[in-house]
């Protein structure tokens, strides 16, 4: 049977990332995309879908089970190999670096599959970047809260204005060559250990 488009199966427990990959595939014109979050009953799904390409995140603890199934299961009618082209070391490295692996059925032409892998790699990287930035924003918010608490402690215990309290924190951080949030953390911890609760 001649196929116009490739069937792609995305196995990812992370729903947000899976949605991002799926959107990318659809934007690239792939209509036959299936996303699976849970590997329970995966053999039956594979038999139904007959995927040409399977994309799996490297964090999935079921990779060994899935690989074994691709090679042996009756559900898989055509043997499935890993990655687009074993000789394409750069692609393989980019994929593993990004945290994704791709399996393709034997005999598929490389130029048909490579764009799918490239897309998955770039979307995985974009997702990691986004997750990292989110983490940084969270950390930033957390630091702001701690600095506010430290300012409050100084204002109360030393009768300073908010601005003077902040200046003191900043000067101490500069003198000790540390981050202002580190100084604030130390101060809040010390205050918690030494005195009655400052802000409750």
């Amino acid at each position: 049977m001649v196929r116009s488009s490739l069937a792609v199966l995305v196995i990812d427990e992370n729903r947000i990332r899976a949605a991002i990959i799926e959107a990318g595939l659809r934007e690239a014109g792939h209509e036959r995309v299936t996303v699976v979050h849970d590997v329970t009953g995966i053999a039956r799904r594979i038999a139904e879908i007959e995927p040409d390409v399977i994309v799996i995140d490297l964090e999935n603890p079921n990779r060994d089970m899935l690989e074994n199934m691709f090679q042996l299961s009756r559900a898989v009618k055509r043997p499935i190999a890993m990655f687009v082209d074993r000789s394409d070391q750069a692609s393989i490295e980019a994929a593993v670096d990004a945290g994704v692996s791709a399996y393709v059925v034997d005999g598929l032409r490389q130029e048909r599959v490579k764009p799918i892998l490239d897309m998955a790699v770039s979307r995985f990287n974009a997702f990691s970047r986004m997750a990292r930035e989110l983490e940084e924003v969270r950390g930033e918010l957390e630091n702001r809260k701690v600095i506010d608490r430290a300012k409050g402690i100084l204002m109360k215990s030393r009768g300073l204005t908010e601005e003077a309290a902040y200046t003191l924190l900043r000067k101490t951080a500069m003198n000790q060559n540390r981050k202002i949030s580190d100084i604030a953390h130390s101060l809040v911890t010390a205050a918690g250990l030494l005195g009655p609760s400052e802000d409750e």
Partner: protein, 414 residues
């Protein structure tokens, strides 16, 4: 030790107890003392370990004993040439089955004594009874197709007259999911390392029916798989690491250190399980289920009995089982690949300066030692064995053709 270590080594491991020698080498200063800055990365699958070795993220890793063979024989989707200069221990696995299967086996004469022949005979009778009643075959799980678990489970079943290809189904389940899969009835039994057997016993959902240490006494399990290209570029770094692992393994074996070792492994970044559940593998004292308990000799050895020596006969036995179950064709080329994978020469040259006991031979006749035996070796005080198979068979690595032929023709004795 200076802050700038002489050697930077990156290693992968799976959160299993038998990564202990590698973990302790990094955490307790054995690597640092050899001038190594050892970075350990916890992984989520053996496939990840293989991939990261293949593309050079890791120099070496905790691996299943047959895994480097599978890589070199081209059986895996991605691979680089991998060698084994060090073994991480002997034994440690069990076969655990559901309460329902245990009840069926007891009806056919099984007893809570871990005797492989007796348990296998009862299991065969139960399987035949089920087949006669038209039930689906029992489903067993192992951790990976190219694992000691898969090959020892099959060896046991076949040796007891059960055809593992037709009379049962074998599936792959990650170790931490085994106990849950058994409790939920998705599988009927499994072969895995500790603590995932004791986990089912503690939950009241399974029975341990036999152990690796009785199927093949003092048999190989996990190894250090090293990217061959790196080993050739960095012989001094590798030798330093092997010495660090040697000191770590000796420390891990000493009962005086077991509490501290369990504490290290309990950390979230390593095994991440409480020290109490690590005690069965450390002591060999197993709860079997239903209140039965037993002490198993040489249940798991991280150091004693030359446990770290990468015997070529161990690799070759794995190879014969790969052939037996159709994973690879027996050809002179494949045999040569299997023969070159484990590297006792590297182990020996790295440890020579320490003046410790080293086996003089690269291979031994497996199953020949019926009792613990002091053997001729460089240095003093090397004791090997016993190393018997449960069925009394002998594996002579010089008679591989005959061994393979005998298993093809006659081992399934109905």
């Amino acid at each position: 030790m200076s802050m700038d270590a002489e050697h930077q080594i990156t290693a992968g491991f799976m959160p299993l107890f038998d990564s202990a020698v590698l973990v302790a080498a990094g955490e307790l200063g054995f690597a640092t003392r050899e001038g190594i800055d050892l970075t350990l990365h916890r992984e989520t699958s053996w496939a990840n370990i293989r991939d990261r070795i293949a593309i050079g993220h890791f120099h070496l890793a905790h691996m299943l004993g047959p895994m480097p063979l599978a890589c070199n024989l081209g059986l895996t989707p991605l691979a680089s040439e991998t060698i084994v200069p060090f073994s991480l221990g002997l034994g440690g696995n069990c076969v655990t089955i559901s309460n329902a299967v245990w009840a069926g086996m007891v009806a056919h004469g099984a007893a809570p004594d871990l005797d492989p022949a007796r348990a296998g005979t009862a299991l065969r009778a139960f399987i035949r009874e089920r087949a006669g009643a038209g039930h689906d075959p029992l489903r067993f799980a192992v951790v990976h197709p190219h694992s000691g678990h898969n090959y020892e489970l099959r060896y046991w079943l076949a040796g007891c007259g059960i055809d593992p290809e037709r009379e049962i189904e074998i599936v792959i389940v990650p170790p931490p999911f085994m106990a849950d899969a058994l409790a939920a009835g998705r599988i009927d039994g499994y072969c895995v390392g500790e603590p995932w057997n004791s986990a089912s016993v503690a939950a009241g959902t399974g029975h341990i029916v036999t152990v690796k240490a009785l199927l093949w006494r003092n048999s190989p399990e996990k190894v250090i798989g090293v990217r061959k290209a790196w080993a050739e570029q960095s012989p001094e770094a590798l030798a330093a690491l092997l010495r660090a692992l040697h000191h770590s393994a000796r420390w891990c074996q000493d009962p005086a250190n077991h509490a501290e070792l369990a504490g290290v492994m309990a950390q979230a970044g390593f095994l991440g399980l409480p020290p109490a559940v690590q005690m069965p593998i450390l002591t060999g004292h197993l709860q079997l289920g239903g209140g039965a308990e037993l002490d198993v000799d040489d249940f798991f050895l991280p150091f004693d009995k030359a446990a770290n020596f990468p015997w070529k006969s161990h690799a070759l036995w794995f190879y014969t089982q790969m052939v037996r179950w159709g994973h690879v064709a027996h050809t002179p080329e494949n045999l040569a690949i299997a023969r070159d994978c484990y590297r006792p020469d590297l182990y020996r040259s790295a440890l020579k300066p320490l003046g410790v006991a080293l086996p003089g031979a690269n291979a031994k006749v497996e199953g020949a030692l019926k009792i613990a035996t002091a053997v001729g070796a460089t240095g003093a005080g090397l004791v090997l064995g016993p190393d018997g198979f449960f069925d009394g068979q002998i594996f002579d690595p010089d008679e591989i053709d005959a061994y393979i032929a005998s298993q093809k023709s006659g081992l399934i004795r109905a």
